[in-house]
């Protein structure tokens, strides 16, 4: 029987699979219980597993994350939802000061098997604070892993890996493509390695590294170019970054374009440029380049189309770089 599902269903299925397999897994956050999540990522779970394992909380992100630290210390594996990435910042202190630090603080005595899920990214014509991409903030914090899937298959496999990981994982879901397409995905639980990028398409002239919802846009852009052979890498894990896959590709192509939705300066793209310089300097035939969101606040809907790099801009930039 085929199991054709979209990304948000893949998230739901991963949670369901793991909750079935492991009684230590609990899911909580705002509106995740009775309502099944504002994006329906937790739909049906409370009915299936009861109110002790899937529940709504008061409206307080710091406590959602802070209590998850305690639940993880005391034997559970919490998977908490932050309703939108824009609302994760009240929990920033808990994340940076505790989630990321318990293992090191106790010299390995207490690790925190927990996952913080949040939908992220723009393009859904939403109110302020509902469109941002700030993966770089979390990637810079020692002690955290940051994962971003771009397909239903990856979403499910990576989320299950995140839940099984003995250490905390920030799991960011590209909400713009939550329902964009379906994929046939194994119904049972399976894992995908955290920390491994995926080469989506091989190519010789230029490496394009991207993640999340931008993967689709990059594919579209590349499909519009015939005379350039582009290698597309879906990073999948922002931190720890799979430098090897990127470097190998650049050693072959000599050129790299990084495409992300987040603001440009001090974004994750900069780290990739730095890595490529450190590891593949002599292979570079053109300046490693970023095509990203602006260094601006994400515009409200009537301006948002300008913010996210369009397939046309990506295409032009690939051409420009290939011709360098």
């Amino acid at each position: 029987m085929p199991n054709k599902i979209n990304i948000v269903q893949a998230v739901q299925q991963a949670l369901q699979n793991e909750m079935t397999l492991d009684p230590a897994v609990v899911v909580y956050g705002e509106d995740v219980g009775v309502n099944g999540g504002v994006f329906r990522a937790t739909a049906g779970l409370q009915k299936m597993f009861g109110e002790k394992r899937v529940f709504d909380t008061p409206l307080a992100e710091s406590a959602i994350v802070g209590t998850a630290v305690g639940m993880a210390v005391n034997g559970f594996k919490p998977v908490v939802e932050i309703q939108f990435m824009g609302f994760i910042y009240p929990a920033f202190n808990q994340i940076l000061s505790h989630v990321a630090r318990f293992r090191n603080r106790t010299r390995g005595q207490r690790s925190l098997p927990m996952v913080i899920r949040a939908p992220y990214g723009g393009g859904i014509r939403a109110l302020e604070h509902h469109s941002e991409s700030t993966e770089a903030l979390f990637a810079h914090i020692p002690g955290l892993k940051v994962v971003i899937p771009s397909t239903p298959y990856d979403a499910k496999g990576l989320l299950i890996s995140a839940i099984r990981d003995p250490d905390p994982v920030i799991f960011l879901e590209p909400k713009r493509i939550y329902r964009a397409f379906k994929q046939d995905v194994p119904e049972d639980a399976y894992t995908l390695p955290i920390g491994k990028a995926r080469v989506l398409q091989e190519g010789d002239d230029i490496t394009v590294v991207t993640w999340g919802a931008m993967v689709s846009d990059v594919r579209k852009a590349v499909s519009q170019i015939e005379d350039v052979s582009a290698e597309i890498i879906d990073l999948r894990t922002i931190s720890p970054m799979d430098r090897e896959t990127i470097v190998q590709s650049v050693e072959k192509t000599g050129r790299i374009l990084i495409v992300h939705e987040a603001a440009k300066s001090f974004g994750a793209g900069a780290e990739i440029v730095a890595v490529v310089n450190e590891k593949a300097f002599l292979s570079l035939e053109a300046p490693p380049t970023r095509l990203t969101g602006f260094d601006t606040i994400f515009p409200l809907p009537r301006g948002e189309k300008h913010y996210i790099p369009s397939p046309e801009r990506i295409r032009d930039k690939i051409r420009e770089l290939a011709a360098y």
Partner: protein, 362 residues
């Protein structure tokens, strides 16, 4: 004043007018002229007109996500009406009736919900902050405004809003604590509409009521029937006076969100029709209309035609901005700092060059 005598651990909710429009508690009735009453009514009606037009526009795809105020008009309008022009109001995002009182132009309100930042540009003289989306964060701004007023010796009061869901946030706590410690002229007006999206009051707090939370800060807390515009006005006026003269106050307005959380929400997932029907009987506008008719202040016909003309005005306001252009490219960049940074300038120019190239290419 009754406000600093109210004991939220024991006293019942303050009500002036019951569900049938009878004044049941004349002692608490605010001192209002007929004109005041008509203004209160008209503003509540206008809020409802905006809500109903916004909902239908949204369904037609002519407006984005919208948060309706249905059922909370008395709480919003009654509290806003207690303020002077020079007093500040600091909203969350569901205070339409108050916005109208404070003077946020209807077309600007539509512009905001249509996704344009210019909606929140409405002139310094309107002492109203823009909508704050991150729940409860705005309460701290309100306290800062109050600190400024107090330190400078201004006479202004700051009325800040939050839903009952917002009272669970740390920022709520810190704001009330700062207000009490610095004895600022702040009123915290909590619209307890019983839900935070799908999460019911019982999952939000285990306290007897929201008003009780004031005790932990050493400030008065009072609970009023939020669907009774007279009770809300009376309590708000007292609170404003108390804030001006003495210090901060918390008001809980007991009300109900009769519509969905926003246009993206399906409330049947988490609450019963029964519960909604119960509250429909307490509708703040219906209640005031009964009073108006009993007191011969307005006829049913007059009310009907007022509603129609309000709807016309509201529709006109919407139309005046519907076809204003989308956000311009420069606008995206120009309001981050007083001057564009070199990075912003370069990114703007690059993008303009791309657009120029693209338009040539077509």
């Amino acid at each position: 004043m009754f406000i600093d005598k109210f004991n939220p651990l024991e006293d019942d909710m303050i009500q002036v007018m019951d569900e049938n429009g009878n004044i049941v508690n004349p002692d608490f009735c605010p001192d209002v002229s007929d004109e005041d009453i008509l203004t209160l009514y008209k503003t509540m009606r206008k809020a409802r007109a905006i809500d109903s037009i916004a909902l239908s526009l949204q369904r037609q795809g002519r407006l984005l996500t919208y948060a309706s105020n249905l059922g909370q008009e008395a709480a919003q309008v009654g509290s806003g009406y207690a303020l002077k022009k020079s007093d500040w109001a600091v909203p969350a995002f569901r205070e339409l009736g108050m916005w109208l009182i404070k003077g946020w132009p209807v077309e600007k309100i539509f512009q905001y919900w249509y996704g344009n930042e210019w909606g929140s540009h409405f002139g310094e003289e309107i002492r109203l902050l823009p909508i704050a989306v991150p729940i409860a964060s705005q309460l701290q701004h309100a306290v800062g405004i109050g600190m400024a007023a107090r330190f400078r010796g201004d006479d202004d009061v700051v009325m800040a809003y939050s839903g009952e869901g917002g009272t669970s946030q740390g920022d709520f706590h810190e704001a009330l604590n700062f207000a009490a410690v610095f004895n600022t002229p702040n009123v915290f007006f909590i619209q307890n509409n019983h839900y935070a999206i799908s999460v019911p009051l019982s999952r939000q707090t285990a306290s007897r009521n929201i008003a009780t939370k004031a005790l932990g800060y050493g400030m008065p807390g009072v609970l009023v029937d939020g669907n009774d515009v007279f009770a809300v006005l009376a309590a708000s006026r007292e609170a404003v006076q108390y804030a001006r003269e003495s210090g901060p106050v918390l008001i809980e307005a007991f009300t109900f969100r009769m519509g969905p959380h926003t246009t993206s929400d399906d409330p049947t997932k988490y609450r019963s029709d029964e519960e909604v029907r119960l509250w429909q009987r307490k509708d703040p506008i219906m209640r005031l209309e009964k009073y108006l008719m009993k007191e011969n202040l307005m006829t049913e016909d007059a009310m009907k035609s007022m509603t129609e003309s309000l709807e016309q005005d509201v529709m006109d306001a919407y139309k005046s901005i519907e076809h204003t252009s989308d956000t311009g490219i420069e606008e995206i960049f120009s309001y981050h700092f007083e001057n564009l940074t070199p990075q912003l300038k370069e990114q703007l120019e690059d993008y303009q060059a791309f657009l120029k190239g693209a338009s040539h290419a077509e």
